[in-house]
């Protein structure tokens, strides 16, 4: 449905010859028909720029983009007819009534006169704005405006929906409502939505593309992303000789430090791995730690691994650099494959 190849966008002077600010840097990805894909990245990563290029609002500096089989440079018109785009700011004409606005948009998007009213009613029903159909848009609350924007995107029943931060600025209840609407849309449309909120992707997307500084840094399902979660250490609660347990643990390969606190007869031991390790390495390291403590003659009461949250994975992916991960070869290869 969408194919992006080596997309480059540079703002300002210089064009392709250098200079100016590089917003999108050799970005490549594909979105297949029927997918709901989350486009994830911190603010300023190039999400909106990429979506604007896909929607035909911005030109690109280099690369090629095909939407529904139409190159957006050569056949921008045909491509735009197949896209329902909701810009980040959800711009609407404040002086129009909801139903007037949607009819105008439907006419603009070439919905035949005979079907227009039905399409508008249908779109309003899908996003639950039928009750404000005759309200002037300028008087609507933010949540309603957001949903009118969503209705605008889908009024012409395009096969592809591109939604730029559809839940930005909403309260938690409205976010839940909009997410439910989006999940429903996934049944009939291919959806590409951008966000900087991880739980958003978890809630509504089958696949996630993570971009940072204009580059794709991860591409996969949520489970694949979760597999990148790493562990920095473990907590053990043991009973027995503290010094024996400590020295046994310290002797282990891959353990950087052991700290302990004693409460009553049990000792809390906190180990830190020499470096952050992925899930399979974590399991092996935990096994070794437990057996070392047992061999030292202690009894193990509790083992709690410390795992990074999805938020931390996101931070590591998008900030890059610091947490160099040699054992990551496998997963980063998988990411490249998808692009």
């Amino acid at each position: 449905m969408i194919s992006v190849q080596k997309l480059v966008k540079r703002y300002g002077r210089g064009g392709s010859g250098g200079g100016g600010e590089l917003a999108v840097d050799e970005l490549s990805f594909e979105v297949a028909r029927g997918e709901v894909v989350g486009f994830l990245g911190p603010n300023g990563a190039g999400k909106s720029t990429t979506l604007r290029i896909l929607a035909g609002f911005l030109g690109m500096t280099r690369g090629s983009v095909t939407v529904a089989g139409h190159d957006i440079r050569d056949a921008s018109f045909e491509a735009r007819q197949r896209i329902g785009y909701m810009p980040e700011a959800v711009p609407l004409y404040p002086e129009m009534r909801v139903v007037e606005y949607l009819s105008f948009r439907a006419e603009l998007k070439r919905v035949a006169r005979a079907r227009r009213a039905a399409y508008v009613d249908d779109a309003m029903a899908k996003v639950n704005v039928t009750d404000v159909a005759n309200v002037v848009i300028g008087h609507l609350s933010k949540g309603y405006k957001q949903r009118v924007g969503l209705a605008d995107a889908l009024v012409a029943r395009p096969p592809l929906l591109i939604l730029d931060e559809p839940t930005a600025g909403l309260d938690p209840n409205q976010i839940r409502e909009v997410r439910e609407v989006i999940r429903g849309l996934g049944k009939e449309h291919t959806v590409l939505l951008s966000t900087h909120i991880l739980s958003e992707v978890e809630a509504s997307c089958g696949r996630v593309l993570v971009i940072a500084k204009g580059k794709l840094v991860a591409d996969g399902t949520m489970e694949e992303l979760a597999r990148k979660r790493r562990s920095s250490g473990a907590n053990l609660v043991v009973r027995g000789d503290l010094e024996m347990a400590r020295s046994a643990l310290q002797a282990l390969d891959g353990v950087a430090s052991v700290t302990s606190t004693t409460t009553g007869e049990s000792h809390d031991l906190r180990l830190l791995w020499a470096r952050a390790i992925d899930d399979s390495a974590r399991l092996r390291a935990t096994e070794q730690a437990v057996s070392a403590v047992v061999r030292a003659g202690c009894l193990v009461r509790e083992v709690r691994p410390e795992r990074s949250s999805l938020e931390q994975v996101f931070a590591e992916l998008t900030l890059g650099g610091e947490h160099a991960r040699e054992d990551d070869v496998e997963s980063s290869e998988a990411a490249n494959e998808g692009s």
Partner: protein, 249 residues
Amino acid sequence: MKSFWPIYKRELFAFFVTPLAWVLITVFLLVQGMHFFLLVENFANAGSAASDQTPVQAFFGNTILLYLVLFLLVPPMTMRLFAEERHSGTIESLMTAPVSSPAVVLAKYASVLTAYGAMWAPTALYLVILQRSSDVDWGAAASAYLGVFLVGAGYLAFGLLMSALTSSQFLALVLTALVVLGLFILGVGEFVTRDGTPMHTVASYVSAWAHMNDFASGIVDSRRLVFYGSCIVLPLFVTVRAVDAWRWG
């Protein structure tokens, strides 16, 4: 061009739904009504011997009021066309719909032109009133309205261009006012330069004052038609290019 019609309708709606439109129309009709009243009174008191002009000629030609009105009307009418949409971001949803740049530009232009025509339409009543007490040269009247339409259409085209060049409505207003004023002042040059100098030739060619005198007397000069045709087509063409530029740039 299929997208012309919905955009045209929306633009007209957006113009007439604002209080600004009604303020402009009211001020315009008040000024024109006063102008007409004073003219008729003057003609009635002075008698036919006092002037070699007809009231229609005096109403449309040889009067500062026409330009004053255009100077006050055109900039606020055109300032919002593109600047407002760019400022509020609605341009993004407009241009990502399957529309072509020329269709958007022409639809917006046609809508202000229609609004401009609607402002002048009630003044036709003055002619009907005149006809009750004297003869009206309908040919000259038609030519005068053609002149009014052409001058206005040229100014509106410049206004549209200025609105596409900036996302600030105020700046669009000021720039348009400067262009209208500049053209007028250039035209006045006809009266202050010596006959035969290049400056005089240029000034007389762009002088809306002289053009309106011709039109008001029923003279439709093809040079004027070409001049105002260029004043319409050139800004519109540049506007289309400007829209494409900030879209694909």
